[in-house]
């Protein structure tokens, strides 16, 4: 099953938190080909912004390592922006609308994210990285 990986999953794999082991398990599975997680150019940009602010401490190089792990990234193009603008999800911001539209237009119906706000996007199923059963469904073997 192909799924979108949200910014917070990458960040939480790199910083001490209760999410870290679960997020690293997902990234390990992607690296070994046991999970088909995808990143978009918009999500990579968010990771890069977070790295550059320094507000999460020293995570220098996280965007580059994320790129190495997930390239080729899903492109955000005109069609995706048009779809994002049409989404009827009033409580979801512009960034997340772009992510939802990116997933939908790439035939992806699942996003792994610690952000419960994405539950408002009915067209996309959110998997919390801390849910072992759901996480297991994303990982083969």
């Amino acid at each position: 099953m192909t799924f979108l990986v949200d910014t917070n999953v990458i960040v939480y794999a790199a910083v001490p938190s209760r999410y870290r082991a679960a997020c690293l398990e997902i990234l390990d599975a992607v690296a070994s080909g046991r999970a088909d997680g995808r990143l978009s150019t918009a999500i990579l940009e968010e990771i890069w912004h977070l790295e550059r602010t320094g507000r999460l401490g020293d995570i220098d190089g996280l965007a580059e390592q994320s790129y190495r792990l997930f390239t080729p990234l899903l492109a955000v193009n005109d069609e995706i922006v048009a779809r994002a603008l049409q989404l009827e999800v009033p409580r979801i911001g512009a960034n997340d609308r772009i992510h939802v539209a990116t997933a939908l237009l790439n035939g992806i119906d699942t996003i792994v994210s610690a952000d419960a706000g994405l539950d408002d996007a009915r067209s996309l199923r959110r998997v919390d990285p801390l849910d072992p059963a759901e996480r297991g469904r994303l990982i083969r073997g």
């Binding site: 790199a14 070994s32 507000r55 999460l56 996280l62 994210s113």
Partner: protein, 91 residues
């Protein structure tokens, strides 16, 4: 330059899907297949991807920020970048 020829067997349904999508996007079926390869096939070998995860695992000086705060930081950073670009344009 395209020099490699590859023969691939498809089901009639797959062929119709390809042709329909190529027509919708105003491109040839060959161009659509090339685009799909570029979009889907890893350019970093498996060993490189594992090294990337190991590098992420080795980060030790970061701090946890809740998801909603991450979004606010990204938004603020974008505004900062826009502000810097405007300042440069005024100079």
């Amino acid at each position: 330059m395209f020099s490699e020829r590859l023969q691939v067997l498809l089901s009639p349904v797959q062929r119709r899907r390809l042709e329909r999508e190529a027509k919708r996007r105003g491109m040839s079926v060959g161009a659509l297949i090339r685009e799909a390869i570029d979009a889907r096939v890893h350019t970093v070998p498996a060993a490189g991807r594992r090294e990337a995860v190991d590098a992420i695992r080795a980060f030790s000086a970061g701090r946890f920020v809740p998801p909603e705060e991450l979004e606010q930081i990204v938004g603020a950073e974008r505004e900062t970048q826009v502000g810097l670009a405007r300042a440069r344009a005024r100079r």
